[in-house]
């Protein structure tokens, strides 16, 4: 896993939005993804620019392409996101707030003679 490459890929709002759109419907062609970005988000984005964004996401491992008959379809690859979380973010982030609160509550209960 190339953390630098992943964070660079995610550092752009258009590319994050593309991942959101693939969550809406996985396996889109360049055409559909472009129509979605332009019509839902009013993004002024050429297909060529979108194509470059897709290539960057693919190189980072966040998008996988598959040819079906003669058209290229794009699929979200979420495992690198989980790896980023597991390897680098979770250790820094610590336990979720809720768990922390529960643990604190448990300690208080213990002190109270539970």
């Amino acid at each position: 896993m190339d953390l630098d490459r992943l964070f660079r890929a995610l550092a752009d709002p258009t590319r994050r939005r593309m991942l959101d759109e693939l969550t809406e419907r996985d396996g889109q062609t360049l055409f559909e993804l472009h129509v979605r970005l332009v019509s839902w988000h009013g993004a002024s984005l050429s297909r060529q620019a979108l194509s470059k964004h897709l290539q960057l996401l693919e190189e980072a491992g966040l998008v996988r392409t598959e040819w079906r008959w003669r058209s290229k379809h794009h699929f979200l690859e979420s495992s690198p996101l989980r790896q980023m979380w597991d390897v680098w973010m979770r250790p820094l982030a610590g336990p979720p707030e809720r768990e922390k609160t529960d643990a604190d509550q448990d300690r208080r209960d213990e002190r109270a003679g539970g």
Partner: protein, 130 residues
């Protein structure tokens, strides 16, 4: 009216195959079928609208036509778009007839669209306005 749209075209690999698809599967009606050299001047109109805009099934003979069509298909870009009343119903009807869709019906702002393969080297979009 000083000028008006009379004919529009799609570039097809094979005119006879295209006629079968556009007439027998999509449901357009034959308007002109005139021999023209080794090909035909082959046009269709929307069902029930014989005086409307004609669709010319034009041979994709030029050497640049094939790479151009292939590049559009690779990116999922339709060669043209037709209007339908109910995109979901049409998707169901055409799928049952064996037509392959690259994009199932999707609601995008003011329209719902779907994209299918015309078996003659093109993708075609159908769109329903809301």
């Amino acid at each position: 009216m000083p000028i008006k749209i009379v004919v529009t075209s799609v570039l097809v690999d094979d005119q006879e195959k295209a006629l079968r698809f556009y007439r027998d599967i999509l449901g357009f009606e034959l308007k002109h079928d005139i021999p023209l050299g080794q090909h035909r001047w082959l046009t269709l109109t929307s069902p029930g609208d014989p005086d409307g805009v004609e669709l010319l099934l034009e041979p994709s003979e030029h050497p640049a036509a094939q790479p151009w069509k292939d590049a559009l298909v690779a990116d999922g870009i339709p060669a043209t778009s037709f209007g339908v009343e109910d995109v979901h119903a049409e998707h169901q009807r055409l799928s049952a007839l064996g037509v392959a869709f690259t994009q199932p019906p999707v609601h995008l702002g003011p329209v719902s669209t779907a994209v299918f393969d015309d078996s003659c080297g093109n993708l075609i979009q159908i769109a329903q306005r809301h």
